[in-house]
């Protein structure tokens, strides 16, 4: 059996940064990823990474913007730490080899982003995530560690009150194996595929979050789901906020720049929850286009600017929507984009389970609170990836060897074989599609109590049917049918937590907008939702928000 001091699951920016930090701390690291690291969804991040490095900007303003953007649900001590780490983090990535866009004087170029007081978002054209991912992968490649490429996490082994390792599935060979570890870091990223209409990749199925939840980790603030205002109409493919940062504007079918009504000061660059609600309201009140979209106009920026700074956006619009943004408006609507919630952690990535750590989108520190600002998630992956890597290494060094019995491996093997051995049963693709349309319809931008209740009933039914899920493909090589089934099971669990949190939270805050409780309720709801897995479903409890210096105010943009 393989053993490591620290196993990192997920090889996007958070996972790779965690691995690098743990290696630097002198422990033996195994990196497990269901995709080749360069295929991770971090690479799809377009707009940029925030750091208050401009002369007119300050860390203090970055902190304030993030606190305000979070609708005061972000933990202020964590946000302060996070924003102070921004500058050094970006410099380190530049030294690793990231090819950032530059200003004429040779400094890092910056663009304005939503909810930010100053142009603070450092970028690499409109493929910042890819630029960072390549540089970090290349830097990590100079170190010694073990990669489990195209291995999928199936269980975190917890016994004797601590983490002992994982069970993982080798997608290429079909083997299940137990791998010992003193500490496990979950950095498996998003779970956006819970929704049908999402900017997220197909691989974003929240595996690590769901498996940590099953292993006893508390999930935090899962009801806060970010919808990005501008995704391509048919495919849900992301059009970066950077497009508006560079001067793009939103228009309704009356040719009105409607954001002037919703955010008179910053208009199209209001925070994402505000812009997404504005778009839905415009469409619902009959001012959308017949296809249900609004238009994102870039034409006035001119060909040269569009084709140099928004090159990928140009390609996306042309290839996936048949639209040339140089001459035509881009029809957009909001789509699921980001989970503010995740595995609850400290700023060092620690969870409530000894030896279990989490970082990146899979985690919830919380710095994003009820709504994340654009440009803060790339930064989060790197800042807290490093923290989790260091903390896990430190823990591993003072912890005895992991002890694994075969119980967990046998159980997982039983479950997996059961899926293919039964003669008939529910089709994983069908369950997934039903879950996605349930979430799209009833757990979207505006939430109504009767629709949330309907979603909860549908999910219970799906959960029941999942017990007899049937994998028709019997092959041991790259069995996508099987991994699809496992992932669908993970997503149904997480969807249940999202809906439970949304039903309980009788207020509107950030991305959680209840039509029956349209106002923020600081008296009763200035607190984090914590969900624990029980046989009866999620059990909710609440934890206080950390305050330092910023008093809650009404959010106006």
């Amino acid at each position: 059996m393989q053993r490591h001091d620290v196993i990192v699951v997920g090889a996007g920016l958070a996972g790779q940064r965690a691995a690098l930090a743990a290696i630097h701390a002198g422990v033996d690291v195994g990196l497990v990823s269901k995709l080749h690291p360069l295929r991770s969804h971090s690479g799809a991040a377009q707009g940029g990474i925030n750091a208050a490095v401009g002369a007119e900007d300050s860390v203090e303003t970055h902190i304030y913007d993030t606190v305000k953007g979070s609708d005061y649900l972000g933990d202020q001590d964590a946000i302060e730490f996070f924003c102070h780490e921004a500058g050094p983090t970006v410099v380190e990535m530049e030294h690793f080899g990231t090819i950032f866009s530059r200003a004429p004087d040779g400094s890092l170029a910056r663009r304005p982003f939503g909810g930010a007081g100053f142009p603070r978002t450092i970028y690499a054209a409109d493929r910042t995530g890819l630029a960072l991912l390549q540089a970090l992968y290349e830097r990590l490649g100079t170190e010694r560690f073990t990669v489990y490429e195209e291995w999928q996490l199936t269980r975190i082994v917890v016994s004797g009150g601590r983490v002992q390792g994982i069970v993982a599935y080798d997608r290429r060979r079909g083997d299940l194996a137990e791998i010992g570890a003193k500490a496990v870091i979950i950095a498996t990223g998003p779970a956006g595929r819970i929704y049908g209409r999402t900017t997220n990749a197909h691989a974003c199925t929240g595996d690590g979050v769901a498996i940590a939840y099953r292993a006893g980790a508390l999930l935090k603030d899962m009801e806060f789901v970010q919808f990005h205002p501008t995704a391509l109409l048919d495919s849900g493919i992301l059009i970066t906020e950077g497009a508006r940062g560079e001067g793009g504007i939103l228009k309704n079918s009356h040719d009105e720049r409607f954001m002037t009504r919703y955010a008179p000061h910053v208009m199209d660059l209001a925070s994402r929850d505000v812009v997404s609600r504005a778009i839905v309201t415009e469409v619902q009140e009959g001012r959308g286009f017949p296809d249900g979209s609004v238009h994102l106009e870039l034409m006035h920026l001119g060909r040269e600017m569009i084709e140099s700074r928004l090159q990928e956006i140009c390609d996306f619009s042309r290839d996936f929507a048949g639209i040339d943004p140089v001459t035509q408006p881009i029809p957009v609507t909001p789509a699921q984009h980001y989970m503010m919630g995740g595995i609850g952690t400290t700023t060092r990535g620690e969870t409530n389970v000894p030896g279990l750590y989490a970082a990146g989108e899979a985690a919830c520190v919380s710095i994003h609170g009820a709504n994340r600002l654009g440009g803060n998630s790339l930064l989060e992956t790197l800042v807290f990836g490093k923290q989790a890597g260091e903390a896990a290494a430190e823990y591993a060094r003072k912890t005895g060897p992991s002890e694994l019995a075969d119980t967990d491996l046998d159980e997982v093997t039983g479950v997996v074989h059961g899926m293919s051995d039964r003669a008939d049963g529910a089709d994983p693709a069908r369950l997934r599609t039903e879950m996605q349309s349930c979430m799209d319809r009833w757990v979207g931008i505006y939430r109504r109590p009767e629709e949330l209740a309907q979603a909860a009933r549908t999910l219970l039914d799906l959960k029941e049917r999942f017990r007899s899920v049937h994998v028709a493909d019997r092959s041991s090589v790259y069995n996508v049918n099987l991994t699809d089934a496992l992932e669908t099971g993970h997503m149904i669990d997480l969807a249940e937590v999202i809906v439970a949190g949304a039903i309980a939270r009788t207020e509107s805050r950030g991305a959680h907008a209840r039509v029956d409780y349209p106002r923020r309720d600081d008296t009763n709801w200035m607190k984090h939702t914590m969900a624990q897995s029980t046989p009866e479903g999620p059990a909710l409890s609440y934890a206080p928000v950390a305050f330092t210096r910023w008093e809650p105010k009404e959010r106006v943009y």
Partner: protein, 326 residues
């Protein structure tokens, strides 16, 4: 208004080595709007018709590089290729796994060969002892210096270029278009400490095996233009030191040959390219060629209007090259 639908007949390669006796094709016909990406169609087949169809996919927006495959014999990203033009041109959509990579199952290939070649070029910034990184500050770099990377940062390592490359097929020593484009990215990086060493090393590690067919550039879904970057590397390599490899001597001799006579002197080209041992080894081939085409071994006369050719050379020389040797 319902969107216009087209009939899209799919023939999809199916094979699991060690299990299936031989590769076969599965046939599916779907009715979809013409702008539907091939990947969307394949996933529809997986979800609704045959869950055992095996492929890699993730982002569906041409940024993760997972879904490269052959679409009607061309190396393409399935997510970026629309079914309409394919059906219009070929009447059907034939899907095969990438070339130059062994099949694991159906459209999933073993990509270790591709990644190994990339890693062999040591793709990571090397510290520059003479110019340490500024403490606590980013390295200054102008927009013009960023422009020197050309399109290489767009590469998503999908391996479409590797699949399309005949040099990869012919010679296991050839690093492949992606790895060389990646190497270019480090050679032009002002932060890298070893651009000259990289150039000298690649001279003997396959740089000159590129056939200049540009199929990689044609296949690349991100417009990285690997063949142009390989050309740039060759120019820089020749300037980094005296031409030493047969490939580099060949390119220099070719250029000087044309400059002096306006026409290629094949026999002289061979003498200038090959070392004495190689020349001896190629004698039998030389005799064969002479028997068939005796004019090749005769020294050609300078063409008429040679001055026109030389004017072109002067123009080229004075315009300089974009790529300076480090």
């Amino acid at each position: 208004m319902p969107p216009e639908l087209i009939q899209a007949p799919f023939e999809v390669y199916r094979y699991e080595p060690g299990v299936d006796p031989a590769p076969r094709y599965s046939h599916f016909t779907l009715e979809l709007p013409p702008h539907t990406p091939v990947l969307t169609a394949l996933l529809k087949i997986r979800d609704e018709l045959d869950p055992s169809l095996t492929l890699r996919y993730s982002c569906r927006s041409a940024i993760c590089g997972s879904c490269a495959m052959l679409v009607n014999s061309k190396s393409r990203l399935a997510c970026k290729t629309q079914i309409g033009p394919e059906v219009a041109r070929h009447g059907k959509i034939v899907i095969d796994p990438m070339r130059n990579l062994p099949v694991l199952r159906d459209l999933v290939t073993e990509m270790n060969g591709f990644w190994d070649r990339y890693r062999r070029l040591e793709p990571a910034l090397r510290p520059n002892p003479d110019r340490p990184m500024p403490v606590g500050q980013p390295n200054p770099m102008t927009p013009e210096q960023v422009d020197r990377f050309m399109e290489t940062p767009r590469c998503i390592a999908c391996a479409a270029c590797y699949s399309a490359c005949p040099a990869v097929e012919a010679d296991p020593e050839f690093p492949g278009p992606m790895a060389l484009a990646k190497l270019y990215r480090f050679v032009v990086d002002p932060r890298d400490g070893a651009p000259r060493e990289r150039l000298l090393k690649i001279q003997s590690e396959g740089l000159w095996l590129c056939l200049r067919c540009h199929l990689c550039t044609e296949a690349c879904p991100k417009d990285v233009r690997p063949s142009e970057r390989i050309r740039d590397l060759k120019e820089m390599a020749n300037r980094a030191r005296d031409p030493s490899e047969a490939g580099s001597r060949h390119s220099v001799a070719f250029k000087e040959n044309i400059r002096s006579k306006g026409i290629l002197d094949e026999f002289k080209l061979a003498r200038q390219t090959l070392n004495p041992v190689q020349l001896l080894e190629s004698l039998p081939q030389g005799f064969k060629i002479r028997a068939k085409k005796p004019e090749v071994t005769k020294t050609p006369k300078p063409i008429r209007n040679l001055e026109e050719v030389q004017k072109l050379y002067e123009l080229l020389d004075s315009s300089g090259s974009e790529e300076e040797a480090p």
